[in-house]
């Protein structure tokens, strides 16, 4: 159906969340231009796992079906709007899942003689598998369908980290495998003459099409499809929403969703990852005593140079240029040590004088770095020194000033991690300046595992680890993750921060001029990100 050409192939789509806490807004222009895969977000994603590192719950999935031009998208957007500050919402359109077409089908499509309104036009198994991945908190790379070319594009859209997923489309309730995934099934019921009227208006004004052509298509494909495949699925719906004047229904739905989310959210608050001081003393003691030759915590040999470097960068009187220089030097040490953790296999080479040399070569299929912004940044440079073309991803994790919980604000990962079939063979150097409470490390590791990266393929590289901090819990939750650090500091203590405190301030620009609680590693080296960048 050529009408769908109005959905441009240049899809919008930004995964997850803007960095600023903005209220959910929908710009009217976008609403008209785009329909597929819009991500609306209000603020960062709070922990979606508990202190054992396991995910607490699945994403909440809403399926919305209804006739063409019945107002499905409008209902979806109204629900999002009514929910207010929900972390991350993905609206997934069935249009993304049109099948890969043969040349003959494409020819039909250009002649407006291909039935896009038949269930067979859609790749339901793929729709269901993408939806299932998202629901289970994994990444998904959903296809992009071009209505200009009437073909699925080679490129895919990466999505990760949704709390609520809304799948909408005329066939959204058609397939049993899809229906099984929904937590809430909505059918938008609209008079067919109203739908036709909307359709004519939209196509004439937005597409400049002739009324006659619109009607012909309506009668040939759209109407039979509605009667045969779409309308009957209303019996699967939990709630049937009118296609116009539906404020009450939207209100009921959003109240229900909010309550459901609140029930699932309860464990977040007692999340120990945010307050790791709760580790039992004995467990901590046993971690550190068995850690003498612990495979999971590798501390750099404490050489004169190393201690000398730490003395300089810990010194609060050290000037910025020296701080940067010595942090960069230290980063190289750490990355060389981290490289030792990768697997190697034997290899024999011939030297220029003709002798054979039995040596080794790296035995890792894919390697990439992921830095936890900002303070992981200095380590990136060190990684690039040892692997100059290594792909670098980043995660932005910030502390919620209100709850003290970490929030995931931004995810940008290399293809080796975005694509699940590559992620299983990928070694990741996860970079962050220090492990104090371990909350950010926890969140970053969980994100990588969600993508299919193997736990024993993650090497966390950091300048400092606090002995009394979250490292013990981190190790309990992810025993196979290796941590490479340069020094272990004794103390992790709570402190109250004044806004704009350059020495102690956290990474977050504190604009609300309130004192807030944070954790400080001691003796430590102050806020590494601030000292390196500001």
């Amino acid at each position: 159906m050529a009408l769908r050409a109005r959905l441009s192939s240049e899809l919008p789509a930004k995964l997850v969340v803007p960095a600023m806490p903005t209220p959910t807004t929908i710009t009217p222009t976008r609403e008209h231009k785009f329909k597929t895969n819009t991500i609306l977000a209000s603020h960062g994603r709070p922990p979606w796992y508990d202190e054992t590192g396991k995910r607490i719950s699945d994403a909440f999935v809403i399926g919305i079906a209804g006739g063409s031009a019945s107002g499905k998208t409008h209902v979806a957007r109204q629900i999002v709007k009514a929910l207010g500050s929900v972390p991350t919402v993905v609206i997934l359109s069935q249009d993304s899942f049109y099948k890969w077409h043969t040349p003959a089908e494409i020819e039909l499509a250009y002649a407006s003689k291909f039935d896009f309104d038949h269930p067979d036009a859609l790749d339901m198994p793929m729709f269901a598998s993408c939806l299932r991945d998202l629901k289970e908190g994994k990444q998904s790379n959903i296809p992009i369908y071009s209505f200009k070319e009437h073909q699925r594009l080679d490129e895919k859209k990466y999505l990760y980290g949704a709390t609520i997923i809304i799948a909408e489309g005329i066939m959204a309730l058609n397939d049993p495998s899809l229906r099984a995934l929904y937590d809430l099934k909505i059918f938008v019921q609209c008079d067919s003459d109203l739908m036709l009227a909307r359709r004519i208006k939209r196509d004439v004004t937005e597409r400049g099409r002739e009324v006659e052509g619109i009607l012909e298509q309506y009668l040939r494909y759209v109407k039979p499809s509605y009667d045969n495949f779409v309308g009957p699925t209303s019996r699967h719906a939990d709630i049937i929403v009118p296609g116009s004047d539906n404020n009450v229904a939207i209100d009921l739905i959003s109240t229900h969703v909010r309550r459901q989310l609140a029930e699932r959210a309860t464990p977040f608050r007692k999340n120990i990852a945010a307050t790791p001081m709760a580790t039992p003393m004995e467990e901590r003691a046993s971690f550190w005593s068995t850690n003498k030759d612990h495979a999971s915590l590798i501390v750099l040999p404490q050489t004169h140079q190393l201690i000398g470097i730490y003395t300089i960068i810990r010194d609060k009187t050290t000037k910025t240029q020296d701080f940067i220089f010595f942090v960069d030097r230290l980063a190289m040490f750490l990355m060389e040590k981290a490289m030792e953790q990768l697997p190697y296999r034997s290899k024999t080479v011939t030297t220029p004088i003709g002798a054979d040399a039995l040596g080794k070569e790296l035995d890792a299929k894919y390697i990439c770095g992921v830095s936890v912004l900002r303070a992981g940044g200095p380590l990136e440079k060190g990684l690039q020194r040892v692997l100059n073309d290594v792909p670098m991803g980043s995660l932005l994790v910030q502390t919620d000033t209100g709850s003290g919980e970490p929030l995931l604000l931004h995810v940008m990962l290399p293809e080796y991690i975005r694509l699940r079939h590559l992620a299983v063979d990928t070694w990741v150097f996860l970079l962050d300046a220090q492990i104090g409470t371990g909350a950010a490390a926890f969140m970053a590791i969980r994100s990588l595992l969600d993508h299919g990266v193997r736990q024993d393929h993650i090497i966390f590289v950091t300048f400092l680890v606090a002995r009394s901090g979250g490292i013990t819990i981190l190790h309990r939750a992810f025993p196979q993750v290796k941590v490479v650090c340069g020094a272990v500091d004794e103390v992790l203590r709570e402190a109250w921060l004044d806004p704009y405190d350059k020495d102690l301030g956290s990474d977050a620009p504190n604009t609300n001029a309130e004192r807030r609680k944070c954790y400080i590693v001691e003796p430590g080296m102050g806020q590494i990100g601030d000292r390196y960048y500001l």
Binding site: W288, N291, K292, H294, L297, V299, L300, P301, Q302, T303, H304, Q305, I307, G308, Y310, T311, R314, D315, K316, T317, F325, R329, M332, F333, E336, M339, E340, L342, Y344, K347, V349, T350, T351, P352, I353, A355, D356, A357, G359, K360, E361, L362, R385, V386, N388, R467, G486, A487, V488, D489, D503, L504, I520, E522, P523, G524, M525, G526, Q527, R531
Partner: protein, 244 residues
């Protein structure tokens, strides 16, 4: 001081310490070597770096990149042999950290031409370090190494010297270089010889002549062939680094 849990770590010096009295903790001397010889930790990763630069099919770009990585590790290790003093600092969190401060002036001396390849690695770690040069060639008449050229900082006698040459085969030119340095007033035990690959024969001769001079070597190879090339070695370092 926050002492990390490291199986290699030994007690840290509590007062001013000279390089000659406290052994650095990252040393890893294989048995049977002279006590003044230190190698880098022989990890699989280091071996992999060497495998790349030994391979005759390695491109010049990769040869540069990977030999630079090894050089950086060698330089960092060499610096561990310099003296340090105890130093306490205040951290930004208000705590006190009992650490170490660097002591003593240093300079690099490279044996031309291959030794120059190691200067950049030294400058990366010690910004604006002074660097002297020595050119030693084989004398056609006597077949012995002969000094052709040397240019050192004026105060070299008061500095620790990192002597840079990537390959130690027979040890002839290295010994000649040390001789020249000693003539300029540098005490033998203030010279640290840094190289990537050495032969056991060369090490033995060299260390017998200069027992208090520290040698930091990345890898000790099998031996020398009839042409006095290191086996398996990596060919002519200077040639591969600059010319091929």
């Amino acid at each position: 001081m926050s002492l990390a849990h490291d199986p290699n770590s030994s007690d840290l010096p509590s007062s001013s310490t000279m390089a000659s009295t406290i052994a650095p903790t990252s040393q890893n001397s294989p048995a049977g070597l002279p006590p003044s010889v230190f190698t880098l930790p022989q990890t699989a990763q280091l071996e992999a770096l060497y495998t790349i630069i030994r391979d005759k099919d390695t491109s010049r770009g990769d040869f540069l990149f990977y030999s630079d990585r090894i050089i950086r590790l060698l330089v960092e290790e060499a610096l561990n042999h310099l003296p340090v003093v105890a130093k306490s600092v205040q951290t930004p969190t208000g705590a006190t950290y009992d650490g170490l401060g660097f002591e003593g002036k240093i300079c690099g001396v490279s044996i031309l031409r291959a030794g120059e390849a190691m200067e950049a690695g030294l400058r990366e770690v010690c910004r604006s370090v002074r660097i002297g040069k020595i050119l030693i060639q084989r004398d056609e008449e006597t077949a012995l190494p002969k000094l052709f050229y040397s240019k050192f900082p004026q105060d070299i006698a008061s500095r620790y010297v990192l002597l840079l040459d990537p390959m130690l085969a027979t040890g002839g030119s290295a010994m000649k270089a040390v001789e020249v340095l000693v003539e300029h007033g540098v005490p033998e035990d203030r010279i640290i010889f840094v190289n990537l690959i050495s032969s056991p024969e060369g090490l033995k001769t060299f260390c017998a002549k200069y027992p208090t001079l520290r040698v930091i070597t990345g890898w000790i190879d099998k031996g020398l062939n009839e042409q006095a090339y290191i086996i398996p070695g990596l060919g002519d370092f200077g040639e591969r680094r600059y010319c091929i």
